[in-house]
């Protein structure tokens, strides 16, 4: 599953090219949430997007699903530019791409029954004709996410965070999407429930051949679920490679700093763990940087001159292995 040597041969489902998303553009309080990022997501893979709070991860997800209109750049879904989708095809686009939200307490309408929440997509896209069919489909989805049938007539406030997140997953799956953006789906849950939800997402992915964009700030969880990982900081991509490469052979200092912050349940390791500080002056020196391929499939944000240094670092890793 991981470490596919020739990713270029696979079909690209999402292509993001030079995406920029500024809020309050041109005004004094301008915020450059996303500043020129490009990446591709291949069909069937899980693409992890990590970074600290405010790095633009969620904004990227929301731009891809067209909750925001990008300032500039291009997002292609399955070959078509999503900003050019006409009203009629928009509904179909909404079916193929879905989102799982961060806060299980805010993502379910407190005034709707669980079955109406799950069936919302079914109603919008007219996927069921009769009430019996609707109930049957809702029960099917409840089974899929591991909830019992008599939960259908309950209200969201009666459920725990993990159960609510599973309801949110069922809602996204109801319209049979091909691509799911999981926007920090586990960060609001406690650790035992996190594993439950992540495993559920993996199982469903295998079953339905889904593609995920998995947004999180927990590197170890992202490594567990993702095939490839992109590291984001201040609205830019710092490093992009396969999960193992990023985790074991980090090149960019920011990635190294991020990895050094991951705690392990091992007292001997923890005693010797030193948090590496990241000095962000190296990206603010006024030089123009872009993603450069250091070794095949491993990209780092760098200037032309810096490439050699990173290549040497990558070389060292290979010798070490």
């Amino acid at each position: 599953m991981q470490n596919n040597p020739q990713p270029n041969e696979r079909k690209k489902l999402i292509e993001v090219k030079h995406l920029k998303q500024y809020f309050n553009a041109g005004r004094r309080n301008e915020v450059k949430a996303i500043d020129d990022i490009s990446f591709d997501i291949y069909e069937g893979e899980t693409f992890g997007l990590v970074g600290e709070s405010g790095s633009g991860k969620s904004t990227t997800g929301r731009s891809i699903i067209r909750l925001y209109n990008p300032t500039s750049g291009e997002i292609k879904f399955n070959g078509t530019d999503i900003s050019k989708i006409k009203h009629k095809d928009m509904l179909q686009f909404r079916r193929e791409m879905q989102m799982i939200f961060q806060d299980p307490y805010a993502s379910l309408n407190p005034r709707m029954k669980v079955k109406d929440i799950i069936a919302e997509g079914l109603d919008i896209h007219h996927l069921v004709k009769t009430d019996e069919e609707r109930d049957a489909r809702v029960n099917e989805l409840l089974d899929l996410v591991g909830l019992s049938h008599d939960h259908a007539t309950r209200y969201p406030h009666e459920f725990s965070g993990g159960q609510r997140q599973r309801i949110g997953i069922a809602r996204a799956l109801a319209v049979e999407p091909r691509f799911i953006i999981a926007d920090e789906p586990i960060s609001a849950l406690d650790v035992s429930i996190q594993a439950q939800v992540v495993n559920l997402l993996r199982d469903i992915q295998k079953e339905q051949n889904l593609t995920y964009l998995f947004i999180a700030h927990d590197l170890s969880m992202v490594k567990y679920i993702s095939d490839r990982i992109a590291v984001m900081h201040n609205g830019r991509l710092m490093e992009l490679s396969t999960a193992n490469e990023v985790y074991n052979h980090p090149l960019h200092p920011y990635t190294k700093s991020l990895l050094s912050a991951v705690p392990l349940p091992d007292p001997f390791y923890e005693r010797n763990r030193h948090r590496k500080n990241y000095d962000n002056s190296i990206e603010n020196d006024g030089q123009i940087r872009s993603l450069q391929e250091i070794v095949p499939g491993h990209f780092v944000l760098a200037t032309e001159e810096e490439v050699a240094g990173y290549q040497a670092a990558a070389e060292e890793y290979n010798l070490g292995d």
Partner: protein, 343 residues
Amino acid sequence: MADNTSDIKLNADSFKPVAANNVDEQEKISAPSLTFFQDAIRRLRKNKAAVFSFWLLAIIIFISIVSIWWTPSDPNAQHVAYANLPPKIANGNIPGFTGKANVGGNIVDKYAAAKVPKGTYYVLGTDYLGRDLFSRLMKGVALSLLIGLLATLFDLVIGVPYGIISGWKGGKTDTIMQRIIEIISSIPNLVVVILMLLLFTPGLGSIVVAMGITGWITMARLVRAETLTLKTQEYILAAQTLGESPFRIALKHLIPNLSSTIIIQTMFSIPTAIFFEAFLSFIGIGIPAPNASLGTLLSDGQKTFRFLPYQMWYPAAVISIIMIAFNLLADGLRDAFDPKTQE
């Protein structure tokens, strides 16, 4: 104690699994499923003042509805001979309703003095033109409640959609719509009504138009503020990503979640409207003669208050009761719908 515990022998058979393999059993929620409204009503029932106010208002509303078809006597019919009769019920045995009045230090049976036929009596007396005050009061309350109903209508038909559109659209639309509201609300209500008198004759029409111009503003502002917070909620984003149209989002997601704000604000705007009408009628630019409203009854009553206090006491008591009842019920509803603000 120590002896007892040493007697107990525990082994594997002492324990029974509690539905260990049955996930359905474990995840079953045993509490009854209550909708949000059922839950709110359950909380409202615990508030005695609100429940009492509710039933009081229900009775008042029922009496007003009856008054559309039936009143004890014609509220506008004048019997100058029977003017200023004090309250009297049946034979005049009940204190306060004896039909007698103090005239120059002597207790006089005014009904006998006016040669009122036996068996004819006025429960709340008559006014200076001999009109039955009880019938007039019934009509007056009905009119006040009609005003309250119209205020609700404006709140719901103009205020709610205005607030939702302004909050949902945001940006320039919001700015323009809010400036319009500020311009309207900067003109005092009374000035609007007086300007209306240039166009309309005084009466229900001009009051209603004045309310239509200004009455819905508080509602629009509250709904806008609430919509602004709701629209960033993730369930609204989820509905958008599912392809729900803005109109359907307003209907399915916004209005149900705004309902408590809307209901509470309505309950507060009804007494405001009633009081507004009473005030206008009292100063003489509201409901024109001979029609009765709480304001005109109070205005007529206060002219003779020193000598014939009953002519003002009863309308004053009724308007106070209506106002207090609406406010207590509104308070109760607010606590019931928004349990977080309580305690």
